[in-house]
Amino acid sequence: MSEAWSKREQLAADYVLGTLPAAERAAVERLAVEDAALARLIAAWQQRLAALDAATPPVEPPPELWRRIAAALPPAGGSGPAEGDGPAAGAGTLVSLRRALRRQRWATAGFGALAAGLALLLLLGPSGLGLLLPEPPPPPGAERPAAAPQRFVSLLRQDPDQPGFLVEVDLARGEIVARPVAPTPPAVGGDYELWLVDQGKPRSLGLLPHGEKSGRLPLSIPQLGKAGPGALLAVSLEPAGGSPSGQPTGPVVFRGRLIPLPD
C-alpha cells in the first residue's frame, strides 16, 4: 500500500484536503491541466471525501444572491452559441433533462417518501401548506430593481432530488408554462393545482397537466411579477376540477422558489 503512495498522490491528497498554501494550490491546478494522472488522483480524493460535503446541511442563500449572479453574467447573444429569446429558450434543456429522467421511474423508495410526506401533510391539514413553506421575513426595505424582471423560472420538487415540474412564468406574454421533467405520480382521482404562495398566502394559478404533457396556463394573477423575493410556487393534490374553496385542501406534492431569469 505505501509503495502506491507517490509524490503525486501526496500532492493530490493535500490539494483536496485543502492544507496547501495559496501559491502551491494554484501550482497544482496548473499542473493538473497537463498531468492527467494527477487530475485522476485529485478526482479520486474528491470522491473519497465527498460524503463530508453531502452531510453538510444545505443553507438557502438570500434571494439577493441570485440577482447579483444574474446581473454579473456576460450579456446574452455575444459570442456564445445561438440562444433562443422566447420562453422556449429552455426547451433544449428540457428535452435532454426529460430524456435523462425518463429512465428514472418513480422508484419504490420515492413513493415511500411521497407517502410519508402526504401523511404528514394530511395530519397538518389545509393549514399545513403555510407551515411547510416557511416564508423568510422580507428584507428591510426590499427594493425592486429598476427594470423588474419579466420572466421567472421555478423547479418544483418533492425533495431536492425529485424534481416534478419546471415552471416558466412570462409576464410579457401573460402565461405560465409548466413542463413535467420527470414522470409525475398520478393525481389519483383528482388534479394537481398550482399555487403562488406570497407572504404566506396561497393563491391559485390553475390546474397542471398529468403525465408527460406540458401545459400552458393563462396568467390568472397579473401581479405575480410583484411577488416578494421569498415567493414560492407549490402544487397540491386537489379534488378533480380543483380546490372547491379557493384554498389548498390537499397535500402539497411539489414546491419551488420563484427566481427571475437573467435576460
Binding site: 501526496q10 491546478e29 470522491q47 441570485w66 452559441p81 434543456t93 435523462a100 423547479l155 419551488g256 427566481i259
Partner: protein
C-alpha cells in the same frame, strides 16, 4: 441535442445518483449557453453550495461572495465538466471549495483561531459522524468506518482541514504539536484511509 446526455458513473461503478440525473443535463445545457438551464441549476444546487461555503468560511458575507464567484465560474466552465471524473455536484463543490480556500488564505489574518475553536465542528461528535454515514449512498458509511480506524489526532486534523479549511500550521497550533509532527500524522492518516476505503470498495 441528438446524443443522450452522458451519465456519470460513480467510481464504484454504480448507477448515477438522482441528483446527477438532474444536474448533468443542466450542466450540458449551460455549456451551450442556455440561461434558463443555469437558473434551474442554481435553484437545484445553491443551498448545498452555500452550506459548504458557510461551513468553511463561517462568514455570511464571504460565503455570498464565494458562491457568486463559483456560479460564474460554473457558467463559464460548464463545458469542462467530465462525468468520468465525478458527479456534477462533486465538481461544483470542488469549485466552491477552491474559491473558499483562496479567500481564507488571502484573508486568514482576519480569522482568529479562537473564533474557529468556538464555532467549530467537533470531529468526534457522533451526530456529525452519523450524518456523514447516512450521506453519499453507501460511500458515507465506508468513510466513517475508515475514519474510525485512524488515530484520533489524524482523524481530527483531516476533518478540520477538509471541513473548515485549517492549514498545517493552524492545525499544529490547535494540537499544540510541531508542524512536522502534524504533517506526518496527516500523511499516515491519508495513506491508511485510502487503503481502508479501497479494500471496502472491492468487497462491498
Amino acid at each position: 441535442m441528438t446524443a443522450e446526455p452522458r451519465q456519470a458513473e460513480s467510481p464504484a461503478g454504480g448507477a448515477p445518483d438522482s441528483s446527477t440525473r438532474v444536474l448533468a443535463p443542466l450542466l450540458a445545457a449551460c455549456a451551450a449557453g442556455d440561461r434558463a438551464a443555469f437558473a434551474t441549476l442554481y435553484q437545484a444546487s445553491s443551498a448545498k453550495l452555500f452550506g459548504v461555503a458557510l461551513r468553511i468560511l463561517r462568514r455570511d458575507d464571504w460565503a455570498r461572495d464565494v458562491v457568486q464567484d463559483a456560479y460564474l465560474t460554473i457558467w463559464r466552465r460548464a463545458g469542462d465538466y467530465r462525468a468520468e471524473r465525478g458527479t456534477p455536484m462533486t465538481w461544483m463543490i470542488a469549485i466552491v471549495r477552491n474559491r473558499a480556500l483562496d479567500r481564507l488564505r488571502r484573508d486568514r489574518g482576519e480569522r482568529s483561531l479562537d473564533e474557529l475553536t468556538e464555532a467549530g465542528l467537533e470531529p468526534d461528535d457522533p451526530q456529525a459522524l452519523a450524518r456523514v454515514a447516512a450521506a453519499g449512498e453507501g460511500s458515507g458509511t465506508r468513510l466513517v468506518t475508515c475514519l474510525g480506524q485512524l488515530d484520533a489526532r489524524a482523524r481530527r486534523c483531516i476533518l478540520r482541514a477538509y471541513c473548515e479549511g485549517y492549514t498545517h500550521s493552524e492545525l499544529a497550533e490547535r494540537e499544540a504539536a510541531a508542524l512536522g509532527t502534524v504533517k506526518s500524522w496527516i500523511r499516515r492518516g491519508l495513506i491508511q484511509l485510502k487503503s481502508c476505503l479501497e479494500s471496502r470498495e472491492a468487497t462491498p
